[in-house]
């Protein structure tokens, strides 16, 4: 039972045997901004070749969790392990297994698409030849092969997001993290993005971890973690989460799980 939220998290904590099979394991992770607790004892593990949605309302702690997983924040309370490497003791190896799409758009606007991807490839240690090959493949896959020499400033928001997905995949990561990637995108680009993420998980075995506050971005076959006020309030297959919440739809379940019960008047 989570003391803070009063809600029960019945999912088992990951065991040592699980870790070898799990691209991302988080155990007992907590974080506070001064006195404000942003994450409380968060534990979960992800499965390769699956899309796991991290669903939570604004301010639930999704971005804080992602900042901790990506090493931008650090917490002594809890452990993060990426593809078998502990982030605290083996930071470089752990981060080398991670592809990241941040919530805000982070491309260099004054560089071309190709220059952005090659810059990032070099930061990941790829040789020029490997970077050139991966850039060509990924641009072709996201449908922007003809825009390699276009400055990012001249791309639409949706095209920029596609480039960011390609950038995150340049080094074939084991885990792809996306922090509310559909923010500001039109419906067609959102649909493309979600379909592309499922394609990556199914065909390439990548573990996709997608933070969102939009219920309609969660597919029925996805794994689901519901985060509220810094604590996991539900976890499992989408159907199980809906059933356990006593709801008929994910929308209803999400509302029940993340809405505080009103105090009873005397």
């Amino acid at each position: 039972m989570d003391a803070k939220s009063g809600r029960e998290d019945t999912a088992p904590r990951p065991t040592a045997d699980d870790r070898a099979q799990q691209p991302l394991v988080v155990e007992g992770l907590s974080y506070a901004y001064g006195k404000r607790q942003a994450l409380s004892e968060v534990s979960f593990s992800l499965t390769p070749g699956r899309v796991t949605a991290l669903l939570g309302p604004n301010g639930a702690g999704k971005t804080t969790l992602f900042s901790l997983i990506t090493g931008l924040f650090d917490s002594r309370r809890g452990e993060i392990e990426i593809a078998g490497y502990k982030l605290r003791s083996n930071r470089s190896k752990a981060l080398s297994q991670l592809g990241i799409v941040f919530q805000a758009q982070t491309l260099d606007l004054d560089l071309t698409v190709d220059q952005n991807l090659r810059y990032f490839a070099a930061l990941r240690g790829l040789s020029r030849t490997a970077a050139r090959e991966r850039t060509a493949i990924l641009l072709d896959r996201i449908g922007l092969a003809g825009h390699a020499r276009t400055k990012v400033r001249n791309l639409s928001g949706g095209e920029r997001r596609r480039v960011e997905v390609a950038r995150a995949l340049i080094d074939r990561p084991a885990v792809l993290l996306l922090d509310e990637p559909s923010t500001g995108l039109d419906i067609a680009t959102r649909r493309w993005l979600i379909e592309h993420l499922h394609h990556l998980a199914e065909r390439e075995g990548i573990c996709v971890f997608l933070a969102t506050h939009l219920v309609d971005e969660v597919a029925p076959e996805d794994d689901l973690i519901v985060l509220d006020e810094g604590a996991i309030v539900a976890r499992g297959k989408v159907d199980d989460v809906v059933r356990n919440a006593g709801a008929t739809t994910l929308d209803e379940a999400f509302t029940r799980l993340t809405t505080k019960p009103k105090e009873q008047s005397p």
Binding site: L72, D74, R77, I100, L107, D108, L111, G125, S127
Partner: protein, 268 residues
């Protein structure tokens, strides 16, 4: 981190900085016009009225425009260091700093690479200025220009470290612009860039002491002595100490705190 990974990353960060510099032609123009105005307008006016006695490293009387050149070289590096840190604050606000800091490279290496790439850009500006100064009639001893190169790397890194430390403490872009002005002008004027220390002491003992405690004074003196082929070990020591102290402080500033609000500063 392997050597090949580190060298690829360093070259990529350097190439990105150079590309930005080439694209921002106004930045290059401003970097040259600023010291040229000081040299051609300010120094020309003072040349007639300000007498300089023979002081090391000079072995004879020199014109004021000759005296002021090392200070203007320091000015270029000071502005460039601040510009580099302003660009880091911008990158932080735009999010590209997150991309850099979440790559599988040690944070210290990434920050040093950023400082180094900014320093390289400042050195290009310095040599372009020296060439223009010579064309306008104030040549420097050619023999001093090659030994000057490693010194410019050191002074550029020291001033970049100072700027990076500031960028780690200032959260917002608009605040940083104000802090830059608050720092650049006192540092420049309260140094030996425009007047020798003995001249300043004649005017005000307090100002003299302020100049003595200003690390930029030693940046200028190290450049001045190197150009004229003379060692200045105290200046070398103080500039190196400035690099170490502010570099370490910047690294601490960009290291995510454990469980505290300062973590947001590194990634915000």
């Amino acid at each position: 981190m392997t050597v090949s990974h580190a060298s690829r990353a360093l070259l990529a960060i350097l190439a990105r900085e150079l590309l930005r510099f080439v694209q921002q032609r106004g930045r290059f123009f401003a970097a040259l016009v600023r010291p040229l105005i000081w040299l051609l307008v300010f120094a020309a006016g003072f040349r007639a009225s300000l007498g300089l006695s023979i002081i090391p490293p000079y072995e004879t009387y020199i014109a004021y425009d000759v005296y002021v050149i090392p200070g203007l070289i320091g000015m270029i590096q000071l502005f460039s260091g601040m510009q580099n840190s302003l660009s880091m604050v911008y990158d932080r606000e735009m999010g590209s700093m997150r991309v850099l800091l979440s790559t599988p490279l040690p944070r210290g290496f990434l920050l040093i690479a950023r400082m180094f790439s900014g320093t390289v850009v400042s050195i290009i500006q310095v040599y372009a200025f020296i060439l223009l100064a010579a064309l306008f009639g104030t040549p420097l001893p050619w023999s001093g220009l090659l030994p000057l190169l490693p010194v410019l790397v050191l002074t550029g890194m020291a001033l970049s470290a100072l700027g990076m430390f500031l960028s780690s403490r200032v959260k917002q872009l608009e605040n940083f612009a104000g802090v830059m002005n608050f720092l650049i002008f006192p540092m420049f004027f309260l140094s030996t860039a425009l007047y020798p220390l003995w001249r300043i002491r004649e005017g005000s003992v307090t100002l003299y002491h302020l100049c003595q405690y200003n690390p930029f004074t030693y940046v200028v003196e190290l450049i001045r002595f190197t150009i004229y082929g003379q060692p200045n070990l105290p200046a070398l020591g103080i500039v190196t100490a400035t690099l170490v102290v502010f570099g370490a402080a910047a690294l601490i500033g960009y290291t995510p705190a454990r469980g505290g609000p300062t973590a947001g500063r590194a990634a915000a």
